[in-house]
Symmetry: C2
């Protein structure tokens, strides 16, 4: 049996994981990544530390990138899949990159095209893009990676920083109904990082529900309160305004204390939700994959076949099917790898039987 050849679209955690397992299994992996580097959104946006252990994101991703590069997988960065045509003997794929086009024949396709951070400009009342001290997750991850926590408006160290959870999540008003699964954990993790870098900065998390499921409960949520002094306020912020001294004023309602308040803040971090990336939407359209109601790729059966799709030979993993933490994306990459390999194997056994 010829060694199976599998196209992987996307070089983030899920795609890297799939490429590694396919190559380790003796398959041939072609990994196509639109950016000029591997690692996906966590690398592109310079994520800082990971929840709950505050481990640098590089410590998780770099070994995976190295092992994929050494595995013999063909990694094409700065490249794009232009077309995929399904035929009797698999798929014919056109890939462009570096000013030229190549055609490849592959036996299966793994979609690992990822997510995008929701754009908080659309939540007008939080004034993102209006007041420079209102920033979002990606802005603050970059700031933490640079180790330089200052108010963008004046370059000074903030005294009070607040996180607003569920921005672009759980919000009918902006058309994003689902929970982003990670907003609580990332906010808490960021607040812990702040407190570790500078314990003089007070940190407040405004929440509807704290969703630190599983071990995040004690390893992240409790720890943030007990060891890092992060403070929690149950309530939704109605709007962010600018006070006379240039500081931000949050119009809040504390739903436990049952009272409205005006809270002066030096910086506000919007815990922005996740949505399907443009690459995910384009790739789904190109491959004829159905989207589910929130705009992500629809798995064949979300309960029992979460990495299979309705298109034979096309598999999907990572945040292309919905919000997901890095470890879950890595696990799904492995699952997609074996499903793709087994698909090719079954098909070639059938072909041999026919011959």
């Amino acid at each position: 049996m010829a060694s199976p050849k599998i196209l992987i679209i996307g070089g983030g955690p899920a795609g890297l994981s799939a490429a590694q397992d396919i190559t380790d299994a003796g398959g041939e992996a072609i990994l196509v990544e639109q950016e000029g580097f591997l690692g996906g959104t966590p690398k592109r946006l310079h994520y800082s530390l990971l929840a709950p252990d505050l481990k640098p994101v590089e410590e998780v991703l770099d070994p995976l990138i190295d092992s994929v590069q050494q595995s013999g997988a063909r990694c094409m960065t700065g490249a794009k899949v232009e077309s995929v045509n399904s035929g009797r003997n698999g798929f014919t794929v056109t890939i462009s990159g570096g000013g030229k086009k190549v055609e490849e024949k592959v036996d299966a396709v793994v979609v690992a095209t990822g997510f995008a951070h929701w754009d908080p400009h659309k939540k007008y009342e939080y004034a993102y893009g209006v007041y420079p001290d209102v920033i979002d997750f990606k802005d603050f991850e970059k700031m933490l990676s640079d180790g330089n926590i200052v108010r963008p408006s004046n370059g000074q160290v903030p005294r009070r920083v607040a996180w607003l959870l569920c921005v672009g999540s759980r919000d009918r008003q902006v058309g994003k109904f689902y929970c982003c699964r990670l907003g609580c954990a990332v906010s808490i993790k960021q607040a812990m990082e702040v407190r570790r870098i500078n314990p003089a900065i007070d940190t407040y998390v405004y929440y509807m529900d704290i969703r630190t499921y599983g071990f995040w409960e004690d390893k992240l949520y409790w720890k943030s309160m007990e060891e890092f002094g992060v403070k929690y306020i149950r309530g939704r912020i109605g709007s962010i305004n600018r006070g006379e001294d240039g500081r931000l004023i949050a119009m809040a309602e504390d739903t436990i204390l049952q009272r409205p308040s005006e809270v002066p803040l030096d910086m506000v971090v919007l815990a922005t939700g996740m949505e399907a990336s443009e690459g995910t939407r384009e790739t789904a359209a190109m491959l004829g994959l159905e989207l589910e109601e929130h705009g992500f790729v629809k798995p064949l059966e979300s309960d029992s076949m979460p990495v299979s799709t309705a298109v034979p030979g096309v598999f999907v993993c990572g945040t292309a099917t919905g919000p997901k933490a890095i470890p879950d994306s890595i696990t799904e990459g492995s699952a997609a790898a074996i499903k793709a390999l087994n698909y090719v194997r079954k098909r070639s056994i059938k072909v041999q039987a026919r011959a």
Copy 2:
């Protein structure tokens, strides 16, 4: 290269998934399950419908069981792994069952030994085992599967049923710090089932945080309120008592309305947490696997290698490493399958190179 032979301990969703993928990949799977049937805890305890789509659990598990049985995997039910000895050429395993013992040589081991429902007898103030109308998740799943929702005390249809979230979870007092990941979803799902069977029954969910992460937010939480009329009360129940008329009285504090109340209820369902099963603890001890701080099997690296362990050739998946929904266990089973297969492949390449 001889076909890899892999022992899978546990025939629930994770183990079944691993067995299927190993067999589909041309490997030999020996699946050992202590019960007399496959399907694990969901089958043993007669789970009813799955969140969020209210799909019968059989519709998810039965096709998986059938396909494993037809795949050529060797399924040994009513059997137990007595010992595992690691040698130069893999593992020697002793399996007992049906009154006899067999010895097998295998190349790798996948641990899929699952979880146990936390025993609510230990939460004295909720009087489980004292008042018959206080039941727990597993009792109520069985009742829903039987389609017969009645008060155990008198066989009558209840008018008001309440769910108490986080029983044996997020609770320092009982030594269970972590969140069970599923208590909110299962409670809401059960309440929706009740309302579908009998809309005359009022359903109340007492919560600290509603953790319907991801698509469970709108597909489960919102839907339960808007289409099923499930009611939510933020507050913790201090204790369950018996009123003069034989009904239950919950001593509650509503943390939004800020007032204590005595709520008469006909039935209370305790949303019991998850802990490592006895089988998981025994298997870990037998294989020399480390446990993490909550008593589950510790993965090699929870961020990047969630199905690998510190013992070469031993992999782990499903609820043996922590609370997990069925789809996640199925995905992890696939991931453990390819990691085990690739481990055997790498080892045999090394052996060939030495020869």
